[in-house]
């Protein structure tokens, strides 16, 4: 895989999405159903990335105290829920993982 080709294609796709309706204005309207579906895309995609990162250890689902990433992830979720602050969540999650790794090992 050539990373430069992927980036070039990624740049074109990203620009195309942003340019699409500004360019097509008046010629095409997004259907209401699609507009509603678009709201669910970010949470769905990002959760689909996060869950395996937290639960999967060596290709297996692992729900145990030894799974420090799952615990740190839960702490990060709590921090995000209460603080509504992305940066604070990152700090909380990383500190939690660092502390748990020392405690559990």
């Amino acid at each position: 895989m050539n990373i430069w080709l992927v980036m070039a294609a990624g740049g074109i796709i990203t620009f195309g999405i942003r340019f699409s309706l500004i360019y097509l204005f008046g010629r095409f309207q997004i259907p209401e159903a699609v507009r509603r579906a678009l709201h669910y895309v970010p949470p769905a995609v990002l959760s689909a990335i996060v869950f395996p990162e937290l639960f999967m250890r060596d290709g297996q689902i692992m729900v145990a105290f030894a799974n420090t990433r799952l615990l740190a992830g839960v702490i990060a979720i709590a921090a995000a829920w209460f603080s509504k602050n992305t940066l604070l969540t990152i700090v909380a999650g990383m500190v939690a993982l660092a502390v748990l790794q020392v405690l559990v090992v």
Binding site: I30, L38, V50, A76, G93, L97
Partner: protein, 231 residues
């Protein structure tokens, strides 16, 4: 021309509070992209070629996982689809601009540039010269993003390899998603996508990600429809 200048700087000023949050993200992206195996040049250039925060984080993650190019591009497209909403929302304001302006402003149309511009146009209306506001916000963001990426790449090389830096990616996504969860359909959408991602983890080419996203969106839309119907 005077009005254009005023609008441009008003856009820059409106962008400033957002930049406080953007700067550390750019640094984290730079450090993570390097850690995920991208070269310094590729990590830096992605910030100007793609210029989309969360899509760049996702791409770095998938490069680390050695996902095929097609899956990376499909995921990137899905992650960026929300920008179509921004495009739709600003289109009426920008309809009389030249093609050159439309291209430039579309390239800069990120979450953080859209938000202050859309608020400004809704509040004060769109007058001749108002497009300079979006340009000011976009240019301020773009410059900050390039600079913070460079700093992250520079400092990232100094971070010990033993540090679990890769964990910052999922944590960043948690920090983006959780505060945006405002309704039951969104919770259900996120949870179902996560569970399907675990169940479909074994699928080849990381296709589980796409399947999970589609299921999550379907669950969200279905619940929203049911909720409306029951009222």
């Amino acid at each position: 021309m005077h009005e254009a200048k005023n609008q441009f700087w008003a856009g820059v000023r409106a962008e400033l509070p957002l930049l406080v949050g953007v700067f550390p993200f750019g640094m984290i992206y730079g450090a993570l992209a390097l850690d995920a195996g991208l070269s310094r040049a590729a990590a830096q250039m992605m910030s100007s070629i793609v210029f989309a925060g969360s899509a760049q984080f996702v791409t770095a993650q998938l490069v680390r996982d050695a996902a095929p190019a097609l899956v990376i591009l499909l995921t990137l497209a899905v992650v960026n689809l929300r920008h179509m909403l921004y495009s739709a929302s600003l289109a009426p304001y920008l309809k009389n601009l030249s093609l050159r302006w439309k291209v430039l402003l579309s390239y800069l149309l990120t979450d953080e540039a859209y938000a202050p511009a859309a608020l400004e146009y809704e509040r004060n209306g769109f007058k001749p010269g108002s497009h300079w506001f979006l340009l000011g916000a976009g240019v301020a963001l773009w410059t900050t993003w390039q600079f913070s990426t460079a700093l992250g790449i520079f400092l990232g090389a100094a971070i010990p390899a033993a540090w679990p830096l890769d964990f910052a990616l999922p944590i960043t996504f948690i920090g983006m998603v959780v505060p945006s969860i405002a309704s039951l359909p969104v919770v259900a959408s996120a949870l179902s996508a996560g569970v399907v991602a675990l169940l479909a983890y074994g699928l080849p080419f990381k296709l589980g990600l796409i399947v999970a996203a589609v299921v999550g969106v379907a669950v969200g839309v279905t619940l929203e429809t049911l909720k409306k119907g029951s009222r």
